[in-house]
């Protein structure tokens, strides 16, 4: 147990040692003295001399080195970001270092606490409020070129206290994926496509046979929440949580109804890690996932024929889906705010966003890119259609714990051991307690 205990002590001490580093970082006050242990690369304008005549005039600085910290889904994303930042660097006469974080949240926090954050970074919807409340995040959302063109539903995710902190870099939405072979085998046609709850239920029941389950979707608020929205519900209204509304309950009860009928199962119940895995293996005839499933299917299950249709409308015809987005955050401590904003403007331009979409399957956050995206990726039309009415995740700090607590009970919907009303009441109580 010696080994285990030592490691556990390390774990406990982690908080502490992190602080020790940050204490070191704070004592070296000037921005030029970046301590190596924070992992942030140097932001020193050491290249000014090499850059020749000092950048005179112009909106952008020249000869500076920016560091960009990203959390990457793989080589495709890393290379795309590196290429894009290099292109900006070549255009403006600056240099960009891309740091790929293994655990973005943790590395970013450490770098910020240490006093030498990367200039630009991926900001998550769940994490930006924490950064904002500590004044670690510069308010740049409105500063980028043509910022009004960004989908308002995405911009609102990164807005708090009336400040639009950072520009969404891209987004994904949920849609229904259908295995076309299983669909036709079950005798279903285009007329049966799940455009409403009733049709979804009918199709899922018909598709459930033998080892196949009609619908397999993640046991998460980030999936089932779509049903609450379709029932006319919401997560928040006027800054207050509304999980205890009758509409939210109706949405969750619909999910329970499907689960009790065996038409809906959760990935763990069928031995899969996530909906896409069950779908790819042919255990699920339908799943509800976001754009990321396109790349996964191409890579892991290239033989499966499928199509993507929009989420069904609720009983009153309300359309609803969820969006997932990240932003380009700019550190408040960055010494090159103008260059940072210029870089973010470049990265969020229509052309760049389309090339990102091409490289790693995300959707442009600009409305101006919508038409081009739809023609380029017709199979993803259902995802981009959801952009207008998609609802973002809750960004209140501490909500992930509350959400986890709610999700612990989701599996119990199938056998009735969890009561939707009690689950939502609990969710409401715990969320409201976050203040």
């Amino acid at each position: 147990m010696n080994r285990t205990s030592r490691r556990a002590v390390t774990a406990l001490g982690l908080t502490g040692s992190l602080l020790a580093f940050s204490a070191c970082g704070s004592s070296s006050s000037s921005t030029s003295a970046t301590s190596a242990n924070t992992g942030a690369s140097k932001t020193v304008a050491a290249n000014t001399a090499a850059g020749g005549t000092a950048a005179a005039g112009g909106p952008t600085e020249k000869g500076v080195t920016l560091s960009v910290m990203i959390g990457s889904s793989g080589d495709a994303e890393t290379n795309a970001v590196k290429a894009a930042t290099a292109a900006w660097g070549a255009k403006t006469g600056n240099t960009v270092n891309v740091i790929v974080a293994a655990d973005l949240n943790q590395q970013l926090t450490q770098a910020i606490a240490g006093g030498s954050p990367p200039d630009v970074f991926y900001g998550s919807s769940g994490g930006f409020q924490t950064l904002a409340s500590s004044n670690a995040l510069a308010v740049t959302g409105d500063k980028i070129t043509d910022s009004k063109d960004i989908y308002p539903s995405l911009a609102s995710v990164f807005t708090t206290g009336g400040k639009y902190y950072c520009a969404p870099k891209d987004f994904s939405t949920l849609a229904v994926e259908i295995n076309t072979d299983l669909w036709t085998k079950a005798g279903l046609t285009d007329a049966d496509l799940p455009t409403t709850w009733d049709k979804l239920e009918a199709a899922a029941k018909k598709l459930s046979a033998g080892t196949v389950t009609g619908l397999v979707m993640g046991d998460s608020l980030d999936r089932l929440g779509a049903f609450m929205i379709e029932a006319g519900g919401s997560y928040q209204k006027d800054g207050k949580f509304t999980f205890d509304s009758p509409a939210d309950l109706q949405g969750l009860q619909f999910a329970q109804k499907l689960a009790k009928e065996g038409a809906l199962k959760f990935p763990k119940q069928v031995g899969a890690g996530w909906g896409g895995e069950a779908f790819g293996k042919g255990i699920a005839a339908m799943t509800i996932e976001g754009n990321w499933i396109m790349g996964a299917m191409k890579k892991d299950y290239p033989g499966v024929k499928f199509k993507v249709v929009p989420m069904p409308a609720g009983p009153t015809g309300t359309k609803g889906t969820l969006n997932f987005t990240n932003c380009w955050g700019v550190a408040a401590k960055s010494a090159h705010q103008d260059a940072d904003v210029s870089l973010v403007s470049f990265l969020t331009s229509v052309d760049q966003q389309l090339s990102f979409a091409d490289a790693f399957g995300v959707m442009p956050s600009r409305q101006a890119a919508k038409a081009q995206f739809a023609t380029k990726f017709p199979e993803q039309a259902a995802f981009i259609d959801g952009a207008d009415y998609a609802v973002g995740q809750v960004t209140t700090p501490g909500f992930s714990q509350v959400q986890q607590n709610f999700e612990n009970a989701i599996q119990g919907l199938s056998d009735g051991s969890s009561d939707p009303k009690a689950m939502l009441a609990d969710l409401q109580k715990n969320a409201a307690a976050l203040g």
Binding site: M1, N2, V9, G13, T15, L19, G25, T130
Partner: protein, 360 residues
Amino acid sequence: MTTSTATTIDVPPTESDRQKRRRLIREERKLNGRQGIAGWLFVSPALIGLLVFLVIPIIVALYISFTNWNGASNPLGGSAKWIGLDNYKKLLTSDSLTRTNFFRSVRNNFYFVLFVVPAQTLLALLLAVLVHQKALKGRGFYRTAFYFPSVTSSIAITLVFIFLFQGTGAVNKLLDLVGVKGPNWLQDQRGLFHQLLRVFGVDSSPGWGKHTLMGLHLWDWLSGPSTSMCVIIILAVWTTSGTFMLMFLAALQNIPEDVMEASQIDGATTRQRFWRVTVPMLRPTIAFVIMLGTIGTWQVFDQILLAGKTNPTMSTPAYLTYQLSFQNSAFGTGAAMAFLLFMLIIVLTVIQRRFLKEKI
């Protein structure tokens, strides 16, 4: 830096004598002082290491536990505010989700300790006695084999266990062969005691079980380890018994031959020799192993991080500390929880020492 006091002299010293003595003392002091400096220099690497990586972090962490630091600023100053005992209150007195999660994790960890410590101690002792046998051929091989799990990365072992105990994994395939349908091990949140009670027809909480204690129903307090936790219990017993086997082995080799021979001459049987001679001679080691085991099992972390992220019946205080701090940015509450765990371990260790009444 103690200076040797001069021996008492009967004759009052002359002026020059006194001066001489003073000079001597001064020189000795100087020499001692120099030695002192050298001493400090020699221990300084270790001392600085301890200070920087242990003492200062612990002090800062203690400070953090009284603030609402969220990790996104400098904890000393910055936007972190001193909030007194609020973090501790949140964990102990207020009816909050954080408290429920904390006490649930304490329950999980308690059952983990309750099962792992006796099992690993007994298994380690058994293995040590087995490989200590002179008659055993290839003792070296067995020693290595039993010790092997302890030197293998716990991450690797946990991953292997996750595969073995999947719903469609090897363990369930084996159980299928004998006609038993295995549970979905790592997802199964049913408590062991609850399942046993079910056999006797008790499948839901009686009236008194509905009372809550620290946010958890009494009935849930008595759940026993969940099926998923049992997997980690098996894993922990298997990996750590090798380490403790080595300790027992060393202690066994320290038992003097003559004591054994004397008991043999006195006509003690093998069993009597084990229980009446070997075990009493091993008592200090047993106490030591139990104590180390308890401290270590209260800090189980990496197995949970890998296998029990989304399973509330597997979370432990050590894991929850990490999760609160790094996933929820509540470093203050996380630090407070770490100190509560620290105090819990201290208290248990003190109780154990008294109970085992052994000086180590």
